[in-house]
């Protein structure tokens, strides 16, 4: 399986998983030029959640500080362009999935910026 295919499939699985848990998905692959990309943006109750999807083996441990900063900047861009979400609480999550076995691990609130 190619890397891109694997990533897309992982995002598909995790979008389904989040919907089942009661999250409403607002955007997928939100991309800002020169800034970064957020895989899934969702919300539940009064919290808006920015999700980084990880589908390689052990790749949930490789979100480094630079990547986190990119995600943060992109999320701020999203909130600027969609002011109706500005009053929500923000949360940054990493959700990892093993595409072969379908095992999902959800790490909540990983950002400490």
């Amino acid at each position: 399986m190619k890397k891109r295919e694997k990533g897309n499939k992982g995002e598909e699985i995790i979008a389904e998983y989040l919907k089942k848990k009661g999250y409403k998905i607002i955007a997928r692959n939100y991309f800002v030029k020169n800034t970064g990309e957020i895989d899934i943006i969702a919300f539940k109750d009064n919290t808006i959640v920015f999700v980084e999807v990880r589908s390689g083996d052990y790749s949930e441990y490789t979100v480094n500080y630079t990547k986190k900063k990119k995600i943060y900047k992109t999320s701020m861009d999203f909130l600027r362009k969609n002011p109706q979400y500005q009053d929500y609480l923000r949360q940054y999550d990493i959700v990892s999935v093993n595409v072969a076995s379908g095992e999902i691990v959800h790490y909540e609130n990983v950002m400490d910026i």
Partner: protein, 195 residues
């Protein structure tokens, strides 16, 4: 009933991994509850070998990269999970120090706040985790002699922060922790100005 205590060491430091230990003490073994932080290193080591000689012990850790990726709370829970996997017996109940239980484990758990001062199993686990982490930091002290890791064990003392400012950030320093983060940002800014 097999009771297992879990505790971690190394949440506060700016460098190195977070280590956790899972300990099952034998039923006949009377163990005093020690505070791992108030013991001297020599006494701690003595108790360390006493625990190792009679009980089942599992060790787990989370690396610097994992701490930066998942944040320190999730990483220490991951380290605890690995310690539980490395334990040679399957316990009936797991007593975890702190206010969070370990996610993704099918064993009955209980979170005990200040458990390292009240529960003998958790107290033993905290001593084992601390001694092993100190040993790792001694190793780093040999590898990076300018940083005196043997003195502060990676904790944010004045000496440590001064050494980082003088000699630069190492690969074992946690990038998301506040003084390290600021030092990296400052260095980048200075390099940009020089160009």
């Amino acid at each position: 009933m097999i009771v297992c205590g879990i505790d971690e060491a190394g949440r506060g430091p700016l460098a190195g991994p977070v280590i956790s230990a899972a300990v099952v003490l034998p039923a006949f073994f009377s163990f005093d509850v020690y505070d791992s932080k108030s013991l001297t290193p020599k006494k701690r080591e003595k108790i360390f070998f006493k625990i190792l000689s009679v009980s089942h012990v599992g060790i787990g850790w989370a690396t610097r990269e994992e701490i930066d990726s998942l944040n320190i709370l999730n990483a220490s829970l991951l380290a605890m999970k690995r310690a539980l996997y490395n334990l040679p017996v399957v316990p009936d109940i797991v007593l975890v120090d702190g206010n969070k239980t370990i996610p993704g484990v099918n064993i009955k758990q209980e979170a005990i706040i200040k458990g390292d001062k009240t529960v003998p199993q958790i107290s033993a686990a905290s001593i084992i985790a601390k001694v092993i982490r100190d040993e790792i930091m001694q190793d780093y002290a040999k590898r990076y002699p300018n940083y005196s890791f043997d003195k502060h064990k990676g904790y944010p003392t004045k000496l440590h922060i001064f050494a980082v400012k003088e000699n630069g950030v190492l690969s074992i320093h946690r990038r998301t922790f506040s003084p390290i983060k600021d030092i990296i940002g400052y260095e980048k800014k200075r390099k940009r100005q020089q160009r």
